[in-house]
Amino acid sequence: MDCTEVREDRMDLLYGEAGPEAERRVLAHHAACASCRDEFEELRAVRQALGAWRMPQQAPSSRTRRVHPLAGLAAAAGLLLALGGAVRLSGAAFEYRAGNATLRVGGADLDGRLAEQEARHAREMQALHVALDAHARRDAPAEGPLLAKVEALIRENEERQARRFNTSLEDLAARAEAQRRYDLARVSAGLSYLDGKTGQHVARTSELMGYVLQASEKK
């Protein structure tokens, strides 16, 4: 079997996708073709080398930074401390009785503090909206001159095209008129020529008729 005929089977075998029949064909070919057998081993070696290229767990990026595990632990510890402080400040209590853990949230002024927090959030949202509106207004005038410039460019382009179109039309009309005059001149010359020929013919006919009349009178 030709080397190229078993190429696809060899690729299947190289990647473990060959069926028994394809594998048998390749092995039979390799038994007879040392070149293909060597190449197969080289391709295997290439595959092995390719395995050296590993994806980093977290590829370096200009946008994200890797967080060191210790920094993560520190952050977690800080979060726990902050949470504990918040629980204490809120008047909540963590209790463990008879194997049951309960978190009691309470405090006389809890509702008041919640309302205060909600109001603060509302204020922050409002401030954000105001900032966004201001940003939008600031951007709007900047687009005005640009739009005007674009419109002017479009207008100028349309005018230029219209002028070009009109010029082309005038040129075409002038050329048509010149052609018409030339044709008329040619027709006129042709008619004159015909007139001349007809006149000569009439004169000759008259002359012949005169001869005929003279001859008949003599008789």
């Binding site: 696809e8 290439v46 390719l50 290229w53 994806m55 590829a59």
Partner: protein, 187 residues
Amino acid sequence: MLPTDEELVAAVQGGDSAAFDVLVRRWDRKIQGAAFRVLGSDDEARDVSQEAFLKAFRGMRGFKREARFSSWLYQIAMNLCRDRLRRRRGREHVSLDDVVDSGEPALRQRPAALETLQARDVERAVAAAVDALSDEQREVVVLKEYEGLTFPEIANVLGVPLSTVKTRLYRALGQLRIELARRGVDG
């Protein structure tokens, strides 16, 4: 038991967009890895992955479930990679599929001084050798060697006949053998 991709796709198509998050978590790293190896840029690979998932989400309604979600996703990602490579180079690259095998004496070109390379150097050499392949060959190598797709899956992802995939890979391996030998890696 974890839901299969097909079950998650069905859930997304049924209106459960949270199921798409599971698909993203499951495939994001793989797609990013494939894009990184094709493009050679981590930032671009992240962008490609994000764009691929966005496109997939938008196209989820029209996705037919007889196809594999992962193959479809790879297909989207590879197309995005091609677009980026085209924009980057400003021209279509010439396919090496039509180039006749050179049959070069590659191993004889190996510089003796580079025989003993450290593992990190080998890794760099492999990355450079893969990068030196044509776009089409690199796609096949990445999908086969690093993503572990089967030949029919790659054919499906790239939209080319099975035989083309195998031919491209065969030539790519030959090319890699030359490149690796040039860089002092015994391929």
